[in-house]
């Protein structure tokens, strides 16, 4: 007697999502076995040629390595900074609301728009970043035009944008912790550092894993920031997987080849993120 209603609630949303996601995904898989490009559009069958070409395409694999580095490095930095900030604000009484709103703002703002602003900040002769470098005696830095510094700039912007997300989740976690273990630690005479490692950190491990995985998922898609800030350059020094696939597909219009890259990228991401999630969860439960 509930069947009618069960379907009424679930089906509209499920069918819409399946139509928008599964059909295009299936189509992409099919296209990845075709030679569809700007000269010869259409679905022919060329077997695994695109995949064979991909294996020899070092630019794709370098982009994947670079993406892994950017994701892991920025998420780790966000976690450490976000946790530190959350710990400091946790017992803060004055101006807590104000601090929380302020720290929240970066994650709410549009990444590409902020990248437009950051580009002017990092401008080598006219931007304030080098003004600051001169002030503290380091001297001008070639922020966006050398390979290493371009990568650093991308990391800085990522950290600025997404540390607030970590901060927000970890602060929520800290606020929901029970009081008793801290009292017990205080009675045992544990100092702040021992309390942190023996009490706070273990209790925060589940939510930490959750927050890190959510951020890794989002970071694995990085493209907007890179597109605006460095256009993948200098050379291909900051090119991520999404960006390279975009170049092959929607700029060079090698539809078939970019479909093969897309599917490979998606599969690798799903496997990598699942493994990371499993490993991190196991670490937590073993504690």
């Amino acid at each position: 007697m509930f069947t009618k209603y069960k379907l009424l609630f679930l089906l509209p949303g499920l069918l819409v999502l399946m139509a928008i996601i599964l059909f295009p995904l299936g189509f992409t898989i099919r296209v990845s076995f075709s030679s569809w490009d700007v000269i010869q559009p259409g679905l022919d069958w060329i077997g695994g040629n695109n995949y064979a070409r991909m294996i020899a395409d070092s630019r794709f694999w370098e982009a994947l390595q670079r993406l892994s580095f950017i994701s892991v490095a920025s998420v780790l930095a966000q976690y450490v900074l976000g946790f530190s900030l959350a710990l400091m604000v946790w017992n803060q009484v004055r101006m807590k609301r104000f601090i929380r709103v302020l720290f929240l703002i970066p994650m709410m703002t549009t990444p590409v728009i902020m990248s437009v602003i950051w580009r002017t900040v990092f401008h080598e002769s006219l931007g304030p970043a080098n003004d600051l470098m001169n002030l503290i005696g380091i001297g001008p830095v070639a922020w966006l035009s050398t390979e290493t510094m371009a990568l650093v700039s991308v990391l800085i912007v990522e950290i600025w944008q997404w540390t607030p997300f970590m901060f927000l989740l970890l602060l929520a976690g800290l606020l929901s912790l029970p009081k008793e273990p801290f009292l017990a630690a205080a009675i045992d005479g544990a100092g702040p550092i021992r309390t942190f490692f023996n009490v706070t950190f273990p209790m925060m491990s589940a939510i930490s894993v959750g927050a890190i995985i959510i951020r890794l998922i989002e970071a694995s898609k990085i493209m907007d920031t890179v597109y605006v800030l460095t256009s993948g350059g200098p050379g291909s020094a900051t090119e991520t997987s999404s960006y390279y696939i975009y170049i092959r597909g929607l700029r060079d219009f090698q539809i078939g080849y970019s479909a093969a890259l897309s599917i490979t990228y998606l599969v690798i991401m799903i496997i990598a993120l699942t493994v990371i999630a499993k490993v991190l969860s196991r670490l937590v439960t073993e504690k």
């Binding site: 609630f9 509209p12 003004d131 550092i193």
Partner: protein, 282 residues
Amino acid sequence: MNSSGYKIFKFVFLAFWASFVVAPFLWALTTSFKTINGVTSGATYIPWVDYEPSLDGWRNVLGTGSQGINVIEPFISSAYVTIGASALSLVLGTFVAYGLSRFKYRAGFIRNGDITFFFISQRIMPPVVLSIPFFLMLQQLGLLDSIFGLILVYIALLMPIAVWVMVDFFNNIPKEIDEMAMLDGCSPLQTFLRVILPNAKPGLVVAGLFCVIFGWNDFFFAFTLTFTETQLLPVAIVSLNSSATPWWSLSASALISIAPLIFVAVLVEKYLDRGNLAGAVK
């Protein structure tokens, strides 16, 4: 670690971070009032002291200045797409979330948990993977470069967020309230509309705001699926960025694009109180 030393360290650290957070905004704000002299002589900061302020940048982007840059139209398009897609995602997502929270579904080996995972796992999909089929699909439907086409695509982006927030929220409303309403004569649909939705306002607000943020902030789909007829705000500003747009106009347009989000941030903060979020992640 003595406690006064820690206090000083904490103050310095929080102050440093606060400055880091506001720095790009303040820089954009001051730049938006500059003229050519305030930019080309190196970084300047304080109006009247470092440079002579002017409203040229703001006049330009609002379409009343000498340069014909206009962000008002893209702003309105962005608002249409964001609000339209968020509203549809919220309606569809809330129905799905209520179903998943209250009924048991089974089809073969598939259970509720698998369906919920299917929705939420869409967040793992990199936009670039879907960009080509979306492009071809909208082309076939004649919806390329249109507001309606983008709304369709954004539903895929936003509905998982609505489902994620609302499933958790509904799970925290006792099932007995639904049963009571049914015994009092409400069908499941009436129960949902008359009893559960009025009690789910905070969840709806949070889910709605998240949809608005992610919708407003999307660049990739707007960039790859629209060209001349329809232009959303991020695409408009990024295209200003690549052309020879003066910094003051660029900064003013960036601030206009971000202003609604700062307002949303203040709203969201009110609702994101204890447990609310922590529970959703675990």
